[in-house]
């Protein structure tokens, strides 16, 4: 069968002054009808640029295809006039994006946004269009299509929003669907459903899919063929079996090896000294103003656990499970509604702001997004020494410690006078870790610290966190939604769902024989669970 999409020797030039000349260089990819081709690579590999070049949506004046060919069902897209490209978008090729919250227009109803495709590209009347929208919403598995059509994006869950996006993309049955990290922003259990839905619709309509992802777990789930990209070039291409089982190129091998294994590490014995004891912790929020008390939301209900020095406790759960709220209560960034929090033997759950101050330094947090958790207008040095100086350490001593710690976390101390934007994501997260450690805490809270990082960087940061724990005998509360990450770093895990702890125990035991039905669902949802990447 002739391919739906042919990309031949495509090169896209970056603007002058970028770190390399081409965003993508000599890239060739084919997608046959009914086939899923995964474009895999880390950030900056050029996979999204390739997709945008196909859609004709490269930012005007910044990225320019300079060479090569893109053919959609034989039609040359690079030489097609803007009018023709517009007519093809939505009809012959369509796209699903990573973040359905931002990819949908927040001020228009979902049904209207799907209807727009029909209104632009077909001559159908109002009733026919409404019928098609309803039918499509039904096909993507949304119950109550009428209500969904009238809803605004913010009224839906992440999974529902992504289904709306898929409905919008497939409503005119395009021959090519480009999915750019469509499940990255979703919970694992939702991810499984969306992947299954894409598979099902794609098979039913014979759609060719170009699926962009950084996650080899997802690749294992959905791909027929795989194209690995790095720094704008294709490194390796082949069938999913070939690439996953017999990767030829060193980079592919390294990428696959970096995927954390689902087989948990054995639990280590901590030093036994209990650092944190949490008993019956609860946090509820009241919604609505003072005239209408609408409802009370229990973000955390009756959570009890303890962490010893030298131990990593994992808090595992999906979005809205209350894991971050639990952490924020422990750090007293929020006031718990009930329960006790004992830090190094002292009750801190009910202390006043003033009385809390001396305890503050004993709990430090590393946040998820290193791009946003460092003040962009302050030099690294200033961010690092602020904490200790606030507790009375002299500037000279604090700077000295900051340099030592930077070296310890693997960042060149010479760069202490630089600004955050001059560092890569992984380096920034190392700086954030140093910023936490400079306070000499007893408890380190790591809130999804590697979720925003590429897999290869992820592995390095996890290793660093492990070193920190061993050398400093820290108690670590590690929050993650990723079971693979939890398996690699946590000694014990606590599984949370809707504010409740549903299961807890040593990581190995929980993963091997989950007792709670929700934990079982979570484990079953881990993408590529039948593939042990680390030992491939």
């Amino acid at each position: 069968m002739s391919p739906v999409l042919t990309i031949e020797q495509l090169s896209v030039r970056l603007p002058a002054g970028a770190d390399r000349t081409y965003a993508v260089e000599n890239v060739s990819v084919d997608v046959a009808p009914g086939e899923v081709v995964c474009l895999v690579g880390e950030s900056g590999s050029g996979k999204s640029v390739t997709a945008q070049a196909v859609m004709g949506l490269l930012p005007r004046g910044q990225l320019q295809p300079t060479d090569g060919l893109i053919k959609l069902k034989g039609e040359d897209l690079l030489r097609a006039p803007a009018r023709r490209l517009r007519a093809l978008r939505g009809t012959a090729m369509a796209m699903v994006y990573q973040e359905p919250m931002t990819a949908l227009n927040p001020v228009l109803p979902c049904g209207y946004q799907i209807d727009e495709v029909l209104r632009t590209h077909t001559g159908l009347g109002t009733d026919d269009r409404a019928e098609r929208v309803r039918d499509m919403l039904d096909q993507v598995g949304l119950a109550e299509p009428e209500r969904m059509a009238e809803s605004y994006p913010h009224e839906l869950s992440g999974g529902q929003r992504q289904r709306i996006m898929i409905a919008m993309a497939l409503v005119l049955e395009p021959a090519l669907l480009i999915a750019d990290e469509p499940t990255t922003a979703l919970d694992v259990t939702t991810q499984v459903q969306i992947l299954a839905l894409l598979r099902e619709l794609q098979a039913a309509h014979g759609t060719g899919v170009l699926f962009i992802t950084h996650d080899f777990g997802v690749v294992a789930e959905i791909a027929d063929r795989v194209v690995v990209m790095r720094a704008g070039r294709v490194v390796e291409a082949g069938t999913v079996r070939d690439i996953l089982d017999r990767p030829q190129h060193a980079y592919t091998q390294a990428l696959i090896r970096a995927v954390p294994s689902l087989i948990p590490r054995p639990a280590r014995a901590g030093s036994g000294r209990t650092v944190l004891e949490v008993a019956s912790l609860a946090k509820s929020y009241r919604q609505g103003g003072w005239l209408d008390r609408r409802r009370v939301v229990d973000a955390v209900k009756d959570a009890s656990f303890e962490i010893a020095a030298g131990e990593v406790l994992g808090l595992v759960g999906e979005s809205g499970s209350g894991k971050s709220t639990t952490a924020r209560c422990i750090a007293r960034l929020e006031d718990p509604s009930a329960g006790r929090i004992r830090l190094r033997g002292a009750e801190i759950g009910s202390l006043s702001r003033r009385a809390l101050r001396p305890h503050r330094r004993h709990v430090q947090i590393v946040f998820q997004d290193p791009y946003r958790s460092l003040n962009p207008r302050r030099r690294v040095a200033a961010s690092l020494i602020e904490g200790p100086m606030n507790f009375g350490v002299s500037r000279a001593v604090a700077l000295e410690r900051a340099r030592e710690l930077l070296a310890f976390v693997g960042v060149d101390p010479v760069s202490i006078e630089r600004y955050p934007h001059q560092f890569s994501g992984g380096q920034r997260q190392r700086i954030c870790i140093a910023r936490a450690l400079i306070m000499e805490p007893a408890l380190l809270i790591a809130d999804e610290p590697v979720s925003a990082l590429d897999v290869s960087v992820q592995a390095q940061v996890l290793e660093l966190l492990d070193q920190v724990r061993t050398r400093l005998d820290l108690a670590v509360l590690f929050i993650t939604h990723d079971l693979r990450v939890a398996a690699q770093i946590c000694d014990r895990v606590l599984v949370m769902r809707r504010g409740e702890v549903v299961e807890s125990g040593p990581t190995a035991a929980v993963f091997a024989a989950p007792e709670d039905s929700y934990t079982r669902t979570l484990v079953a949802a881990a993408p590529g669970r039948n593939w042990d990447f680390a030992h491939a």
């Binding site: 939505g90 994006y97 227009n105 927040p106 001020v107 727009e116 605004y152 913010h154 996006m165 005239l291």
Partner: protein, 313 residues
């Protein structure tokens, strides 16, 4: 929603009370004696005292305030010292020109500024963008009276397209009304066009970079639909906010513009009343302006509900 409305309406009470006390005291603390002004240049001290007693200005301050506010609560704003007629009817005569000027200015502003700002954002960094931004800086820098006289000189004196000054009610016909309104409203709108074009540009530019605009293009929508239905619609909240603030600031501009174009509106009334130390009139006009200000703000907050479904009160 109803709770929100109730709270907002209730919140106007302390605002107006504060304004009332403030204006009342401020007027009586400024130098200048209304009785002396009413009495005229050749009046004797006894005559002035007599007039002061007539106007009730010889009572203690607290008593004057109590009397005045009790009347205001009953809807009686008293009698003007200077114009010798009830303040309410005085305002009634003067409100139409001012309201007309404000509305026509608002209309010109929105019709010119929003498309200009949107085009500047769409053709970001082009000559059009630079032109609009250049105009915006110039518009901020030219005082409204300079612009007013300039427009009069060019379009009324030299070209003779419009009358030099004056006001005609819309009841006298659309053309006589517009003919006299074009120059003052244009002069007054320049600074608001500058302000709102700038805000529109910034706001649309930001939205154009958002993911859902890429989605809209990815659906194959024509650029016009992308810009108007998707970008501008999302950019509307900050634009409307600034239009509202601008409308409130318009009150200051109206005073100057009405003087330049000799329009018998509230602005002129305010100036005359201040010069004559006509306490009841000044107090009433300022209370009216602050009430309008509070009302405009409430209307803006209600517009948000229509513009952005995520906002719920």
């Amino acid at each position: 929603m109803l709770g929100f409305l109730a709270r907002r309406v209730a919140a106007t009470v302390p605002v107006l009370l504060f304004v009332a006390v403030f204006v009342f005291l401020l007027l009586r603390l400024t130098p200048g004696d209304p009785a002396a002004i009413v009495a005229g240049d050749n009046a004797s001290t006894e005559q002035i005292e007599e007039i002061r007693a007539q106007l009730g200005l010889d009572e203690p301050l607290l008593e004057q305030f109590g009397l005045w506010s009790a009347k205001v609560l009953r809807g009686d704003f008293g009698e003007s010292f200077f114009f010798k007629q009830p303040v309410a009817s005085l305002i009634g005569q003067r409100i139409e020109p001012t309201l007309s000027l404000a509305l026509v200015t608002l209309f010109i502003t929105v019709v010119v500024a929003v498309p200009l700002g949107t085009l500047a954002a769409y053709y970001h960094r082009s000559w059009l963008d630079r032109l609009v931004m250049g105009f915006s800086v110039a518009g901020f820098s030219v005082p409204v009276f300079v612009l007013g006289y300039l427009l009069i000189y060019v379009f009324a004196v030299e070209l003779r397209w419009f009358p030099v000054q004056g006001f005609a009610s819309i009841r006298e016909g659309l053309w006589p009304f517009l003919e006299r309104m074009v120059l003052p409203a244009s002069a007054l709108s320049v600074i608001y066009v500058a302000l709102i074009a700038r805000i529109t540009r910034a706001s649309v530019l930001e939205v154009l970079g958002e993911d859902h605009v890429r989605t809209a293009r990815g659906k194959g929508l024509p650029e016009r639909t992308v810009v108007i239905n998707h970008a501008l619609r999302n950019a509307a909240v900050p634009i409307v906010t600034v239009i509202g603030v601008g409308l409130a600031l318009l009150i200051g501009g109206v005073v100057v513009t009405e003087s330049v174009f000799n329009i018998p509106g509230l602005g002129r009334l305010t100036v005359d009343a201040v010069l004559a130390r006509d306490y009841p009139t000044i107090q009433a006009v300022i209370l009216l302006f602050s009430f309008a200000y509070v009302l405009i703000n409430l209307m803006i907050d209600l517009t948000y509900l229509v513009l952005d479904p995520r906002i719920r009160y």
